[in-house]
């Protein structure tokens, strides 16, 4: 065998393995997508069809318009599940809460991380232990005391309580990541600015923050994803159906007698959509983020 054929063979083998592995790993998501555009009768056919024979947007229409009429058209009876009328409200709640959490936790930890890398004061080691411990504490530990605290503040069942609850998960790893990023920015850049007479705040705002932007983006994405994906805290804190975030809301679809899989898979796709867009936009930054330190998950 010549060198050239051996090289070709190796490439073919590599690509075959890669494609097989990718297909296996992506199959669940692809299957959700396929199911979400199948009409109800085809969805429950055995053996299942791998590609839909007829495409339908009924499930998405039901979620986005909140009208359950299509149930009767497709299956001939009105199921006892709650109509999907709250889906858009849940989506909106998830966006508001995730953005709020991200802004607060990234803002607060950016300031703190800058302070920790640029100034020395007693107790700095404590903060690195603290954020490491934050990684280790299971959420089931602090969710109940937090619930009691929110109840005392009169915040339960309101979106701000979720933001405050999520901060307790995101803050340790935001500090950890931002800390790593600021350590990577050389002090000389700032010293040049300071020598030119800029104040510490000007240096921070105009020189350091732009340099730290990739880190801030990566950290924000992680914080957004963690808040978007939470179920436990929202499940304990929230009560009324219109105030739920997507995660807890969508699980309500299981509570009826009849389970509507089309609706479920369409919600799965819509819930993953914002994350896929973010992921595609900033994949490069994310790898940077992972390089900087472990991220809770």
């Amino acid at each position: 065998m010549t060198y050239e054929t051996r090289r070709r063979l190796r490439l073919v083998l590599l690509y075959t393995t890669l494609v097989t592995v990718t297909v296996v790993i992506c199959f669940p998501l692809a299957w959700a997508l396929v199911t979400s555009v199948k009409p109800n009768d085809e969805m429950l056919r055995l053996p299942p069809t791998f590609l839909p024979e007829r495409l339908t947007a009924d499930h998405y229409r039901a979620l986005l318009t909140g009208r359950a009429m299509y149930f009767e058209a497709a299956t001939g009876y009105r199921p006892k599940t709650a109509p999907p009328q709250h889906f858009l409200a849940w989506f909106f709640n998830s966006v508001v809460v995730s953005v709020g959490t991200t802004v607060i936790s990234v803002g607060v930890s950016t300031l703190a991380a800058y302070s920790l890398t640029r100034f020395s004061f007693p107790g700095q080691r404590f903060f690195s232990y603290f954020s490491l411990m934050g990684y280790m504490v299971p959420s089931v530990i602090f969710v109940f005391p937090l619930f009691l605290l929110m109840a005392r503040l009169g915040l339960t069942d309101r979106l701000p309580s979720l933001v405050l609850g999520y901060i307790s998960i995101t803050l340790p790893f935001c500090l950890w990541l931002m800390w790593a990023f600021f350590r990577g920015i050389p002090l000389e850049v700032e010293e040049a600015g300071l020598i030119d007479g800029a104040s510490r705040l000007q240096v921070f705002w105009q020189i350091v923050l732009p340099l730290a932007l990739p880190g801030i983006i990566a950290t924000s994405i992680f914080s957004f994803v963690v808040s978007w994906n939470d179920y436990l805290i929202a499940r304990i804190f929230m009560n009324s159906i219109s105030q739920l975030p997507l995660t807890v809301g969508v699980m309500h679809f299981f509570e009826g007698v009849h389970v509507d899989w089309g609706l479920m898979m369409a919600s799965a796709v819509l819930m993953t959509l914002p994350l896929s867009i973010l992921f595609m936009l900033v994949q490069r930054h994310l790898i940077v983020g992972f390089g900087a330190g472990a991220v809770k998950g």
């Binding site: 280790m136 307790s168 819930m271």
Partner: protein, 318 residues
């Protein structure tokens, strides 16, 4: 505007003057470095104290009280909550299941993760597309995966049973979530699917730092692919793997949603881990004290485990 600070006048007003002359801002806006340092820490300290430190301490205190979530009263009961835990066979079952769940998930993730990372480390065309696709599961919400898993593993209409039947692997439908072993297998599979990318990313980042000359030298010496992996790659990955394994073990041990959303801990209590057990004590039995005590036991186990592990690693390095 007069320019009291510079001979050349205000930087913008000179027009022809190319020199930039600095105008110091009014003195009252200047904060000393020390003040800035403290000021920047204040928000973090306040938020962390209120929403991280306090809840954890409060949870430890709660472990010694009897408390219902809907009544304002709290009664001190000493060690009763812990006595309750250690006398409850479900707690011991949950602990055993937590060990099975944690160990099998972590081992599978590590092996698959290293394998995938080696595959994705190849410098071939289009590798970035594969990297993106294979890392994506890590971003997918657990709720979404649970929904998809419930659909794929549905006993009557699910694709898994249909495929297994068609290829003659099974003769009748498996009721995945009604049999303890299959339920445990399906939650472990979900966890492995979602978190293997984490291992991949960490290992991949480390692989890219191994100097290429090491491999070239080995090749010249006639080392086989397996020998190169065993003698160069593995030793280089040892440090990152030991950290990744600790983190994965801790986080898997703490996981709640991955189990609860798929099986609710069932059938019966056969997929309970300690987190699900604590959650059920708080929400179904309304015993917040017992839930908090479960949390304290979890923390104690985690700290002992990490301390032992660190000592083990330290001894190996000596």
């Amino acid at each position: 505007m007069s320019a009291p600070y510079g001979r050349h006048g205000h930087a913008g007003s000179g027009g022809a003057v190319a020199l930039t002359v600095f105008v110091p801002p009014p003195r009252r806006w200047r904060l000393s470095d020390r003040q800035v340092g403290v000021l920047f820490m204040v928000p973090f300290i306040l938020v962390a104290a209120a929403f991280i430190l306090w809840p954890v301490l409060e949870a430890v205190r709660l472990a010694f009280y009897s408390k219902s979530p809907f009544r304002p009263t709290m009664t001190y009961v000493g060690l009763d909550n812990f006595r309750y835990l250690f006398g409850d066979p479900v707690f011991w079952a949950a602990l055993r299941q937590a060990v099975v769940w944690t160990l099998s998930s972590t081992i599978l993730q590590s092996i698959l993760g290293v394998g995938l990372a080696l595959l994705l480390h190849q410098a071939i065309r289009g590798i970035n597309v594969f990297r993106g696709l294979l890392l994506f599961p890590y971003m997918v919400p657990t709720v979404v995966i649970a929904l998809i898993w419930r659909w794929m593993f549905n006993p009557e209409f699910g694709i898994i049973n249909a495929t297994l039947l068609r290829f003659g692997v099974i003769e009748k439908n498996i009721y995945w979530f009604s049999e303890p072993t299959w339920a445990m297998a399906s939650v472990i599979l979900l966890n492995v699917w979602k978190f293997t990318p984490f291992v991949v990313i960490c290992v991949l980042a480390r692989l890219q730092m191994i100097p290429v000359d090491l491999y070239d030298a080995a090749r010249v010496d006639g080392a086989s692919a397996w020998q190169r992996f065993r003698d160069i790659t593995l030793p280089q990955l040892k440090a990152v793997l030991s950290v990744v394994v600790v983190f994965r073990t801790i986080w898997t041990f703490n996981k709640f949603e991955e189990i609860y959303l798929l099986t609710r801990g069932g059938p019966g209590t056969s997929t309970f881990n300690l987190a699900v057990y604590g959650f059920e004590q708080a929400t179904a039995n309304l015993k917040l004290g017992v839930a908090a005590a479960t949390g304290v036991v979890m923390l104690a186990l985690l700290f002992t485990g990490s301390a032992l592990y660190l000592r083990l690693i330290g001894r190996q390095e000596e």
